[in-house]
């Protein structure tokens, strides 16, 4: 498989941007990727996929109106058609006084080592062996493990380039590799299932032991789960699940949601929106994070963005458009797929560590739930109203000790309350696959619904 070619992508993006007619701004966002994915089942390869993909998204702005079109090919003919289509779409958009492309803002890009040659150089047989070995390890780990639903190894190389007629011309590439496994065990008439994963930049940074141990220990802890009685409890979020909740919160701190009156934090900069123990930043320049990247998807150099400082709201995440609207500078938080215009996303959320790890914090909880998985987030969480109601599997905690495993229950509160009520912030920073550096959090006053 041939790898990506950042220079060629930049040249393509530059060629498109150079076609801006007088009075026009043009931006081309070009992406390219290759990936290998192996699924193992019962000691054999169930499927092996090797594929490449490419895309281009073109924005054209004239007199404040924006037209957009995309295609899944870098063919000259198709690129030309796409530019024409974007121009064709333009007259139907309304003039927008904040429309405009990014311009270089003098921030230096952080040098980050996010690409590993190993992704392309490693023979596929070794990748296959990872998936097969992972399944074998999980099946052998404990007699109660009945089987594996899926064991897979995936790695990918992605490259992008973005160029504008306003002076942006950047590109870059990165790699990622991960294994994941989901294991099954009998539980009376039904079954329990639990997963584990390990992520890195290439095959040698991925740990089969970590993935297998996580899957098996979570699986065995679920056997004998019961539906709990309803109660008001202290929620114990381990770093992985803290990352999930903070990801939702960061979506509510996007400049576009704020400007359009869809964020409950909208006009609250300077106010106490979280516990004084909570300090949260988004920092894609941090090499410890798997979300670290030198540039955002509009081509601006990424930087550290404070969000909460001792619970006080510092500001929002912006792309060029939302920043112009808010009368401030972009925080280089633009995120996109080639088929869409830029949105806003945190990449590397970090919680400033407090004190204590999971076990020491759990020991302080009299009546709680240690969650191992949260579900139904897309159906039970409303980022506008702040309603938060999710399914939970995990352990009851009583008198500082782990008690019975629970299932078929929900946890409910509001996102506003969850942030304010955090009573303890742990010191156990763990970097998650999605880029967040999570820590253990304790949040009292959460409704557990069961029997």
């Amino acid at each position: 498989m041939t790898g990506t070619d950042v220079d060629a992508l930049r040249a393509l993006a530059d060629r498109v941007a150079a076609q801006a007619a007088p009075g026009e701004q043009v931006e081309a966002y070009v992406s390219q990727g290759t990936n290998t994915s192996v699924d193992a089942y019962q000691g054999e390869i169930e499927s092996l996929t090797q594929a490449g993909s490419a895309g281009i998204g073109i924005r054209v702005i004239r007199d404040g109106r924006t037209g957009f079109a995309y295609a899944s090919s870098h063919d000259d003919d198709i690129v030309a058609e796409t530019l024409a289509e974007a121009r064709d779409n333009l007259p139907f958009a309304e003039p927008d006084e904040w429309a405009g492309l990014a311009e270089p803002d003098g921030t230096a890009a952080t040098a980050l080592d996010v690409h590993r040659e190993a992704v392309l150089a490693t023979p596929v047989e070794e990748k296959v062996a990872m998936a097969i070995e992972l399944e074998k390890m999980v099946r052998a780990a404990d007699p109660r493990v009945r089987g594996v639903r899926a064991a897979s190894y995936t790695d990918a190389e992605g490259a992008f380039a973005v160029a504008t007629s306003t002076g942006i011309s950047v590109g870059g590439r990165s790699t990622i590799a991960y294994v994941s496994v989901s294991a099954l065990a009998d539980d009376g008439d039904a079954s329990v299932i639990a997963g584990g994963m390990s992520v890195g930049r290439a095959i040698d940074e991925v740990s089969l032991d970590e993935a297998a141990d996580d899957a098996v220990s979570r699986l065995l802890a679920k056997i004998g789960s019961v539906k709990p009685e309803s109660a008001v409890v202290t929620l114990i979020l381990e770093p992985r699940l803290t990352a999930t909740v903070l990801g939702i919160v960061s979506g509510m701190l996007g400049g576009e949601a704020v400007a359009k009156g869809r964020s409950p934090f909208g006009d609250r900069v300077g106010e106490q929106v979280g516990s004084p123990l909570l300090t949260i930043v988004d920092d894609p320049t941090n090499p410890d994070s798997l979300g670290a990247e030198p540039y955002d998807d509009e081509g601006l150099a990424t930087r550290r963005v404070p969000l909460l400082h001792r619970g006080v709201l510092q500001g929002f995440l912006h792309n060029t458009h939302s920043a112009r609207r808010a009368g401030t500078a972009s925080t280089a938080s633009a995120a996109r797929h080639y088929s869409s215009r830029p949105g806003i996303s945190a990449r590397a959320l970090t919680v400033e560590p407090g004190e204590g790890d999971l076990d020491s914090l759990l020991a302080t909880v009299d009546d709680g739930v240690l969650a191992s998985s949260l579900g139904g987030i897309h159906s039970g969480v409303n980022p506008v109203s702040g309603d938060f109601s999710v399914s939970v599997e995990g352990l009851r905690v009583r008198g500082g000790e782990r008690a019975e495993p629970i299932k078929e229950a929900t946890l409910a509160s509001t996102l506003q309350r969850l942030l304010l009520d955090v009573s303890h912030v742990g010191s156990d920073v763990e970097w998650q696959p999605g880029g967040t550096g999570g820590v253990t959090l304790l949040i009292p006053g959460v409704s557990l619904s069961g029997r």
Partner: protein, 463 residues
Amino acid sequence: MIEDPTLERVLARALRTGGEFAEVFAEDKQNGSATLDDGRVEQLSSGRDRGAGIRVVVGDTTGFAHTADLSEQGLLTAAEAASAAAREGGGGVREVALTRRDVPNPSPVSVLPDDVPKADKVAILRQADAAARAAAREISQVTASVAGSRRRILVANSDGLLTSDDQVRTLFSVSAVATGDTGMQTGRKSTGLTIGWELFDRIDIDEFAAEAAQMAITKLRARPAPSGQLPVVIGAGSGGVLFHEACGHGLEKDLVDKGASVYAGRVGELVASPLVTLVDDGTIAEEWGAFAVDDEGAPGQRNVLIQDGVLTDYMWDFLRSRKEGRAVSGNGRRQSYKHLPMVRMTNTFLENGTASPDDVIAGTDHGVYVAKLGGGQVNTASGDFVFGMQEAYLIEDGEITEPIREGNLIGNGPQCLQDIEVIADDFAFGGPGTCGKDGQGVPVGDGCPTLRVAQLTIGGTSS
């Protein structure tokens, strides 16, 4: 999209180093959408995604490669890659002769979305925006969007099958935010069918937008939802999501085979109340999950999954059907040519009962009425599933009273199906939905009559 002789050569190349089966799935998808947000038409977007995915099966191993290059050389290269991925030694020449089989489209299209002048699309959005804002002074934000897609697919395989489909979908949605003393609330209404722009001949845009706005207004006075188990009445239409999660995924044969379904080994058994007959049917004209052929080339089909409470069949994909020596079921679907197909639902719905919907509510002392369900999620191994309540009310002494805030309900699939106490006679299809499984989204429909479940857990905050 691709000439027959090219397909035959590509399939032969795919099997050149051995294998039992090869397939070329080609797709040409055009999308166009327009969105009005914050009082502005801010985005007209269009795009095209075209390519082919090639599968080669050797024993229990599938090799897969995809390409955006539909030239013969591009396809031959992908065929080689798929074949190499399936990793079989041994040679042999395979010749493939294709026989075209056309399946009539259940949903004829009058007006292609692409042929509609952009100005007309914008006019719809402006009308919806005005109507939603006019509904009440508390409406503080409105989003309206229209989208049309045309997906042409071609399936050719080494068994000699050659078939194609042309699937057009049109979608309209309006969301509103209401702001009041209790904070902000949202309302959303969407409609979509597997037809063209003639969808808009059937919609009263003013009424539609006003209803979305009204949902948000009503929730401004919503109470915290109860916490704990209560009888739940599910309204006709969107309640189909409950069955999609309670047993739909659990009846997908790939999950059954992997020991990841509570419904494994239960064909022929009573798995639900005898009132329950559950169907998955890709032939229902115009519904969001309808098609002429699935993404493996099998014709869409009506499949009764549960008959009078008894589990009658699972849903199958092509390879599993082949292995079992049985007929296909029309449930092999994929998100795009870049993905491998899997067992997926189409339009999944509960058939009518005989009660009157008013009696169902009147017969509920104290419970919750869910007028509109949001999405959901299921753990098929344990059977536990959740679904969201986008519009729900308390039932007190047999009457619908106060609105309650959004949240999830949770239950256990087999237990919930047994706990269905009464089913009304007012069947309705729900709105367009996207079903997610292993990272792939496909369009699905659902539906049900009003019904009551003896108890489900409401994930609220009020004891």
